[in-house]
């Protein structure tokens, strides 16, 4: 073979990749801009200033070192919950139960801490055990959803959401009963795990280690999904389950593994919420991170590494909520409206893929 014949296809695929990449960036960014426009119209109709809103959003999210830390603090669970949607999405599942795995994972961490802390087990052993418990319970919880999907054909979207309500009921059942801290009168909670068992901050900041865990996991899962046989099999299954079965891929194992990984991510988010923020498990765990994670993943096009910056963006919306509420006299649900608009516009933009000639491969006569 001559250099020319081997060179040409390589250049072609590079250009094709670049175009596909540009399309995957331009369309979601365009969707964000359109959402901002629609939201601005919404604000104008209410007699509020969109300029003020976006300025406050920037100031509350990134304006000061305090607000940046606040943003990153809130991004941590969003990264983990975004991953919890992205990994099943790669295998073709719409799994929306991260909220339940987060709640149950956080609760399990707090519950296992009760005997360990009162037994005086050193924190170096207790803390990994708590994290492991959270990941194992979260993983099993969502793994069941994957197994039901594969073995019984139960729709994973509905079942994972039902499991979320069951998870919250389980936590309430124990928190109001057997595991209730008698001192928590107004807000039933488990026993506080105690200062010694809390997760510390990344040195030099007020940000807890959950952010680092999220970033490391995002990179690890990116490698797993794009550079390993496992990830290849999962993506083939996501593309065409029948072809995957015909090729002899272990579809059932892959489905259960992907959902269990997702549950473990969400469970870990629950662990950090308990061990780095609240210090105990209570209704504060039901904060909607699991649901915002769905949107994060869609905007990142279910790409694990891209989940990180998108989660930080949504972290800033959450972090600036208080400032906007005070300065503009708007309810905290403003962020929900903005997120809802982004979500709807983003999914509508799915129809634009393949519509713009500039993003399509230019293969000339030699179509690949």
């Amino acid at each position: 073979m001559t250099a020319v014949t081997t060179d040409t296809p390589v250049r072609l695929t590079d250009s094709t990749k670049l175009r596909a990449w540009a399309e995957a960036v331009a369309i979601p960014v365009g969707a964000l801009l359109v959402s901002a426009l629609i939201f601005s119209l919404f604000l104008l109709l209410l007699g509020k200033s969109p300029v003020d809103y976006f300025q406050l959003l920037w100031r509350g999210g990134f304006g000061t070192s305090f607000s940046i830390q606040n943003t990153l603090q809130r991004a941590a669970p969003l990264i983990l919950c975004g991953l919890a949607f992205a990994i099943p999405a790669q295998i073709g599942l719409t799994m929306i139960g991260a909220e339940g795995a987060l709640v149950l994972g956080g609760f399990s961490a707090a519950a296992i801490a009760v005997p360990l802390v009162s037994g005086g087990v050193p924190s170096i052993l207790t803390m990994p055990l708590m994290a492991l418990a959270a990941m194992a319970v979260g993983g099993a919880w969502i793994g069941i959803v994957g197994w039901l999907r594969h073995a019984r054909g139960v729709n994973e979207t509905i079942s994972s959401l039902l499991m979320t309500y069951i998870a919250i009921a389980i936590m309430n059942f124990f928190v109001e009963g057997a595991l209730r801290d008698p001192g928590s009168a107004n807000k039933p909670s488990t026993m506080p795990i105690g200062e010694d068992y809390m997760v510390g901050s990344i040195p030099g900041t007020d940000i807890h280690w959950g952010l680092a865990a999220g970033i490391v996991l995002a990179i690890a899962l990116q490698v797993l999904m794009t550079r390993t046989t496992f990830g290849f099999g999962a993506r083939v299954t996501g593309g065409n389950p029948r072809a995957a079965l015909a090729q002899g891929l272990p579809v059932g194992t892959l489905v259960v593994a992907c959902t269990a990984i997702a549950g473990a991510c969400a469970g870990l988010a629950g662990y950090y919420e308990v061990a780095a923020i609240h210090g105990q498990a209570n209704a504060s765990l039901v904060a909607g991170y699991g649901f915002t994670g769905i949107l994060v993943s869609f905007l990142a096009r279910h790409n694990p590494v891209v989940v990180v910056p998108v989660a930080i963006m949504f972290g800033s919306i959450a972090a600036s909520g208080g400032l906007i509420q005070r300065r503009m006299d708007m309810p905290d649900a403003t962020a929900l409206v903005l997120q809802g608009i982004i979500f709807v516009v983003l999914l509508t933009s799915e129809t634009l893929y393949g519509r713009f000639a500039i993003f399509q491969p230019r293969t000339g006569t030699e179509r690949t």
Partner: protein, 306 residues
Amino acid sequence: MSDGILATILISMLGGAIRVSTPFMFVALGETLTEKSGRINLGLEGNLVLGAMVAYAVSYHTGNPWLGVLAAGVSGVFLGSMHGLICSLPRVNDIAVGIAMMSFGTGVAFFFGKPYIQPSAPRLEALPLGGWSDNAGLRQALDINPLFFVGILVALVMWWAFANSRWGLIVRMTGDSEPAARAMGVQPYQVRIASTAIGGFLAGVGGAFLSLSYPGSWNEGLSSGQGLMAVALVIFARWNPLRCIVAALLFGAAGAIGPALQSVGISQGYYFFNAAPYILTLFIMIASARSSSSAREAPGELSITK
């Protein structure tokens, strides 16, 4: 003695079933219509919450709860048409759009609903149908909201229309085979947009029941997944409006176990019994997912069963 307690529990479960089932029934009927046309709208939870808020607000301002019910339905048409139009674009996934509509509808409802959490709006009056009985519990159980009967009427009309009317045939044909519908000169997208919009109306009315009858006030924790359970309920009811009534009553009874036990002093495991409807739904889904009768009666174009 134990007979008395059992009777009390059963009567309050009957009352609870009738009260709790109404929103289930409306959402399930709306979803049945949408799914019969070949689309699935997971966003009816958003319609339910927005409908509850709008109904409460309109009833508060106008003093007429029935205007609230109508407004709730109109808000449902708005969300439903949005879903229907967006899903008519190529390459857009109806399940994902449903999740987005759920989050959009809930966000809008919470945003505009803040001022209505405190004030009390006029509620829908229940019909006292238990006057003949001496049993106070039974009389309370038979204070039935007129919307319950409206729901049954809607179910009967839908059941009749699917089988006997031109419109029913068009909806069923669109849901079973898009090529067949096109061949008959029917525009499948128009039928689906209309079915989703009308389905959204019914779900909005279901939301009005939540805020204007039972529990009977507006707050952000009003709906806890009833809209989604109703979607599962439709699969259980196998897309038959009459079976939707039975399924809704069953779900209502399951939801009433916790409060019924609490009324006789058994508060142990209250939260656990509250999870009963979700657990029941899950088991029903597991049992019915691969059943042959479910596969036979499912609309052919439905993405959830394909």
